[in-house]
């Protein structure tokens, strides 16, 4: 307050602050920005008040006068005082006081105000107020105020008639027009802003005493609760006159420390309704039968989702594929192809599922659920439209029945027949999609965004680039990750990522996850895919299992290694140990020497048999067709045995590597041989069965 008696209007300060934002509009008729002397003095006093909340008084005064030095390490609203220039002083102070006032009055509680997005609520949390310990409720001197208010209502600055009514009500115990209603009346006439005079200590306070029995029953009830320091009493008075809790406190409370809750114009009934609600907020847990009690697997999914969302895993990776629940005319989704592959790769459906797939609805349509990826236009990256033959068309093209090509990621039934992952894309008529429902993919936005970009880039090097290959250079979908990788490896990888696919254009950053967060994500992938976790036993990893296989198939691992290192097969693309195939990194594939720690044995076995069954867009060929094993010069056995041999080799690669290594050359030679060894020196060599990369194969 300025010496002249004029006051600075907080609302005006707030307006000044708000007016500085010109996003989407142009301010007009702006009042003169120059302040009068009194206004400036009031402004400085208010600024001092706020600054003293941050700095000691002397420092606050200095900051107001000289600002803060340029190198001041300070954050928060007071930053504006860094380099305070005389020319901008008024503007800075107006902004500062305006912003502090908005914060104090919590305007952001109702209004969307830039810069206050993270501001805390102005009031106490009510979620469990109904069971708040009364000893933690500050009743202050409010009992005196209420006694005085009820006894001497007339003397207060309320409307005279209301005070008169209150007095009569107190005297005759008439409940219909008791003090409650007088307060209501007062509430609507500005009593929410009790003046300092009313809140200040009065000499006669201690002499005033009112018995709860002497007022009307409702008032008496709440007065008794108030005197007994119970929640109901506090709340009753808080809603009647919120700022009355500053009674006898204003002498030692600064302006900014006073209660700020406005007095809402409730009548007694409304007040009771609010009280009933707030007192009912006891945060009691719901009855056990109504509490969601997830299975451990579901809990793992939920816990993992929290971490996945926190670290935005879905920004790059697809966590869940698109799903289309469609209703289609029979035989409009093409026809199935004969199954011509390893028997263990056959799709599995129950007779009931087949029967359901053939059940028509009232419109004669069949239903199915397609899980997969929409085929994207390599030029635009948008979902492609095709005609019934699969020929790309524009969405607005006339005389064409629009279809959407879908690359399946989950086996499904169409017309009662299996459609398997790795098969041709399905061309789904637009009307079948419209008649059903589409659930968009979760995650993978960045990969989809980059899809046309990496194709265009690659086209400059290789004009014959195949669009599907681009998916292999982008963050991979993590659908099926749980059945693909070993949980311990994934946990370690998440904590310390390392490159896996040489062709990838992006590298996964290190997120500095906690071990528990990495574990939650690991369990999430296993749980959503129905895989075992956290501990998995697979007999194929046992040494005894390997020994048995080696007894059954001579040169089991050696034969498999001959396939791996033959220049026609794995080493054409894959890194193996210290060998890296020369050529374009875009055509390189992951390190096989680490497969044993990364992938699950069952996945490796089926993946080798037909990679497309698990990753529909992969460019990895079928190296060992089910009906045409590779040369017997490499591995003696049929296709399944060869696939088994490769799987065993990859899952025991470390064991195989150990067998190739001998310590003999490091050990002291037997007496008598020292001289000859001394001439040649020690050699770090593999055993005599070292592998040669060989391209000479008769197939």
């Amino acid at each position: 307050m300025a010496k002249s008696g004029s006051v600075s209007d907080p609302a005006a300060d707030a307006v000044a602050y708000l007016m500085q934002s010109t996003e989407g509009w142009e301010p007009k008729d702006i009042p003169a920005s120059s302040l009068t002397g009194d206004e400036r003095q009031a402004l400085e006093e208010l600024a001092t008040l706020y600054l003293e909340g941050r700095f000691p008084a002397a420092k606050a005064s200095d900051v107001l006068k000289n600002g803060l030095p340029e190198d001041a390490a300070i954050r928060g609203d007071e930053e504006v005082f860094i380099g305070l220039a005389a020319a901008e002083r008024d503007e800075v102070l107006l902004n500062y006081v305006g912003k502090k006032t908005i914060g104090k009055l919590a305007c952001y509680g109702c209004h969307d105000i830039p810069g206050f997005e993270d501001a805390k609520p102005a009031g106490a949390a009510l979620a469990d107020w109904g069971r708040k310990d009364p000893s933690r409720i500050a009743f202050e001197q409010v009992a005196h105020f209420v006694m005085h208010d009820l006894a001497h209502g007339k003397e207060h600055a309320h409307g005279d008639e209301a005070a008169e009514d209150a007095h009569h009500g107190a005297a005759d115990g008439h409940s219909g027009h008791g003090p409650d209603e007088s307060a209501d009346h007062a509430g609507t006439t500005g009593a929410d802003s009790l003046g300092s005079a009313e809140l200040a200590y009065r000499a006669d306070d201690d002499s005033v005493h009112l018995s709860p029995e002497s007022v009307d029953p409702d008032t008496g009830y709440f007065l008794e609760k108030l005197l007994g320091h119970e929640r109901e009493g506090f709340l009753w008075q808080k809603l009647r006159q919120p700022r009355s809790y500053d009674y006898k406190k204003v002498e030692n409370k600064s302006y900014n420390e006073r209660y700020r809750m406005p007095q809402f114009p409730f009548d007694a009934k409304q007040r009771e309704a609010v009280m009933t609600f707030v007192l009912g907020l006891v945060a009691e847990p719901p009855a056990p039968e109504f509490v969601y009690n997830p299975t451990p697997r579901e809990q793992a999914r939920l816990d993992g989702l929290v971490v996945a969302e926190r670290f935005n895993c879905g920004g790059c990776h697809t966590l869940q594929m698109d799903r289309w629940d469609i209703a289609y005319e029979p035989e409009t989704l093409g026809f199935p192809n004969d199954f011509n592959d390893y028997s263990f790769l056959r799709g599995h459906f129950t007779p009931k599922q087949v029967e359901q797939s053939l059940r028509k609805d009232a419109k004669g349509r069949l239903q199915t659920s397609l899980v997969g990826m929409p085929v994207l236009d390599p030029e635009t990256g948008k979902p492609q439209f095709v005609d019934e033959d699969g020929i790309p068309v524009e969405p607005d093209e006339e005389d064409v029945v629009l279809h959407r090509p879908v690359m399946l990621w989950k086996d499904t039934l169409v017309d009662g027949e299996p459609r398997l992952v790795g098969g041709p894309s399905l061309f789904v008529p637009e009307d079948a999609i419209q008649a059903g429902k589409h659930y968009p993919a979760k995650g993978g936005e960045l990969a989809r965004l980059l899809f046309p970009v990496v194709i265009e880039d690659e086209r400059e090097i290789n004009p014959n680039v195949k669009p599907d290959d681009a998916w292999g250079w982008l963050p991979p979908p993590l659908v099926g990750e749980g059945t693909k990788v070993q949980s311990p490896w994934l946990h370690k990888f998440l904590l310390n990522p390392h490159p896996i696919r040489p062709a990838a254009v992006l590298r996964m950053p290190k997120f500095n996850l906690q071990s528990s967060q990495a574990a939650a994500l690991t369990d999430y992938f296993a749980s959503v895919d129905g895989a075992d976790y956290p501990y998995v036993y697979d007999s194929r990893l046992d040494d005894s299992s390997l020994a048995e296989a080696e007894t059954r198939y001579p040169e089991h691992l050696e034969g498999a290694m001959r396939i791996v290192t033959n220049n026609n097969y794995c080493v054409k693309c894959h890194l193996v140990g210290d060998y890296a195939p020369p050529g374009n990194p875009k055509a390189l594939a992951p390190q096989l020497g680490r497969v044993h720690e990364r992938l699950r044995p069952e996945y490796v076995y089926e993946w080798i048999a037909n990679p497309k069954r698990f990753l529909p867009y992969t460019g990895m060929p079928v190296n060992i067709p089910h009906d045409k094993p590779v040369s017997q010069d490499l591995y003696v056995g049929d296709s399944e045995q060869q696939v088994g041999g490769l799987t065993d080799l990859l899952m025991h690669f470390d064991e195989f590597a150990k067998r190739q290594f001998s310590l003999d050359s490091y050990l002291p030679p037997p007496a008598g041989e020292a001289a000859s060894v001394g001439q040649t020196g020690p050699q770090n060599v593999a055993s005599a069965t070292s592998i040669q990369i060989d391209s000479r194969v008769d197939n």
Binding site: N337, I391, F427, P463, N464, P621, V622, V697
Partner: protein
């Protein structure tokens, strides 16, 4: 040269020697005739871009590899244009109905490229994918109606594939080991299709005489060819579709001239 015995039914109108007739049908059961012609480019096309082999350089680096999207002879003949009968109802020569009895079509991985660059195969006809190179290749066939196949073909090895369904558009064949390698396979339910040779010429034999047939023209770079000249007359063929009725005897469409701008 425009052969008067050919009934060109662009926009469902028959043209005979300059006279316009409507809806003529001259079906002659048991008569078969061949259709030939030559695709020619009018104008300059971009020079073929050289491809740098960055894999198996000791083998692939020996060959002069180029992007084969547009292959034009010195006299303008356009290679690798596909022309096939699109009509579903077509009388097929009895000897040619069963694709499984036809001689296998060979697609060879040779000199680190596919030979031929565009091949034609009938459903149930055997496609033999060979590898004449001293290195391994894979042949990733991106079919739309048949199960995609992607077999590794070891050096000097081969793999046989058959297709039970026809494909509306040519299927791309790629080698993931050597990403520059690309070819196309035209898979049709009947034998009535051809791919123009190096000089741009093509022949489709044993077509039923007098049957109005819808043909479709496609080129790797130009897509469906919907604008060209036959006998000097401009012809519009929406999405590359055009109707012909073949008359007795060998018929020659002459030069089918395509503007070079289609390939830019």
């Amino acid at each position: 040269m425009f052969h008067p015995a050919i009934f060109l039914h662009a926009a469902r109108i028959a043209i005979v020697g300059g006279l316009i007739l409507s809806g003529s049908q001259f079906v002659r059961a048991g008569e078969w005739a061949s259709l030939k012609g030559r695709f020619v480019v009018d104008g300059d096309t971009p020079a073929p871009v050289a491809i740098t082999a960055d894999k198996d350089i000791e083998v692939c680096g020996k060959h002069k590899l180029v992007n084969e999207e547009v292959v034009v002879a010195e006299d303008g003949g356009l290679a690798n244009v596909v022309i096939f009968v699109r009509s579903k109802k077509v009388t097929v020569h009895p000897d040619l109905e069963d694709g499984s009895k036809a001689a296998p079509v060979v697609l060879d991985n040779k000199d680190c490229r596919f030979e031929p660059h565009v091949g034609f195969v009938q459903t149930e006809q055997t496609l033999t994918i060979k590898n004449s190179d001293p290195i391994g290749h894979n042949s990733n066939i991106a079919t739309m109606k048949n199960s995609p196949s992607n077999s590794l073909i070891p050096s000097k090895g081969s793999s046989d594939v058959t297709f039970s369904r026809d494909e509306a558009i040519p299927a791309a064949v790629t080698c993931n080991i050597h990403p520059w390698m690309k070819a196309y396979l035209v898979i049709r339910p009947n034998p009535y299709g051809a791919v123009s040779g190096k000089d741009g010429s093509f022949v489709i034999e044993n077509l039923p005489v007098g049957e109005e047939l819808e043909f479709q023209l496609w080129h790797e770079k130009g897509g469906y060819l919907d604008e060209f000249k036959i006998g000097g007359k401009k012809t519009d063929a929406k999405r590359g579709r055009i109707d012909f009725t073949v008359e007795s005897g060998d018929t020659d469409l002459g030069d089918i001239v395509i503007d070079a701008k289609v390939f830019k």
